[in-house]
Amino acid sequence: MADKIYAGKTVAVNAEGYMLDPSEWTKDIALEIAKETGIELTEKHFEVIEYLRKEQAAGTSLSIRKVGNSGIVDIKGLYQLFPGGPLKYSSKIAGIPKPASCI
C-alpha cells in the first residue's frame, strides 16, 4: 500500500498502483493514471470506464467478454482503447480493483 498524488489529491493505491477506494476516483485522476499508462483518454474510454465502475459497484465479476457484450465496444475495440491490457489497464484507470479474472 502506498499513496500517490493524482490531480492534486492524495490517493491510496496498492503495490500495483490500483486505487484502494473507488469512491475517491474522479475523471481528472483517471486522466493522470491513463497518462502514466501511455493512454490518452477519449469519450469512448470514459464510456468503458463508467461501465466498469457501475458493474464493479454492483458486484459483477468483470471479464473482457462482459465488456465485449456491453454494447459499448467490441473486444477488438477494447484492445485498441487499452493496448496490452484491455482489462487490467481499464480497471486501473477506472479506479477499481484489478479483476481476478482469467477471461
Partner: protein
C-alpha cells in the same frame, strides 16, 4: 533481473473439452496481459478449429481417473460407456463453463484473435485427417509445418507450451 515473458507458442494436440480450453485460456490470458500468443493445433487438437467439430467437443468419461460424480464419488468407467452418459457429462461441463463466462470455442477464438493472437494448424495432421484450410475455422491464419512453427518461436522471452 528476470526477463519478462514476451511471447507464448501454445501447441494443442488433444481434442477433449478440458485440453482445448486449457490451451484457449492460456492463449487468451496471454494476449490480455500484452503477451504475444500464437496457437498451433495438431492431431486431435485440430477438432478445436475444424468448423464441423469446434463447438461440439467432448470429454472422456472412460479411462479418466479424475472423473467424479456430482458429490465426489468415483465415476465408474462402466457407466461412461452407456449411451448418452458422455453427452450428459459434456453438456454439464459446458453449462458450468458458461456460468463462469467461459465462451464457446468459436467465440473464444474471436476473443484471442481480437487481441492479436494467431491461430495455426499443423500441416502433417491436416494432411492425415484430409483437412484443407476451407474445413478450418476462419480464425485459422495458415496451415504450417513444424519448421515454420519453430521459425516463429524466436526471440528473447519466448516459451513453447505443449497441451
Amino acid at each position: 533481473m528476470e526477463t519478462p515473458l514476451k511471447k507464448v507458442m501454445i501447441i494443442c494436440a488433444k481434442g477433449t473439452i478440458e485440453d482445448v480450453y486449457a490451451a484457449l485460456i492460456m492463449a487468451n490470458g496471454a494476449v490480455m496481459e500484452g503477451i504475444e500468443a500464437k496457437m498451433f493445433f495438431t492431431f486431435f487438437g485440430l477438432d478445436a478449429i475444424t468448423k464441423k467439430q469446434m463447438n461440439k467437443l467432448h470429454t472422456a468419461t472412460v479411462g479418466n481417473p479424475a472423473m467424479r460424480m456430482p458429490g465426489g464419488l468415483v465415476f465408474p468407467s462402466l457407466l461412461g460407456v452407456i449411451p448418452g452418459v458422455e453427452a450428459g457429462v459434456s453438456a454439464m461441463m459446458k453449462k458450468q463453463m458458461d456460468a463462469l463466462d467461459i465462451p464457446p470455442v468459436d467465440e473464444f477464438l474471436d476473443m484471442i484473435t481480437a487481441g492479436g493472437g494467431e491461430i495455426y494448424a499443423c500441416k502433417l495432421a491436416a494432411d492425415m485427417f484430409k483437412l484443407t484450410i476451407d474445413d478450418l475455422s476462419e480464425h485459422t491464419k495458415a496451415i504450417i509445418t513444424v519448421g515454420e512453427l519453430y521459425a516463429m518461436s524466436g526471440g528473447e522471452g519466448t516459451q513453447i507450451i505443449f497441451v
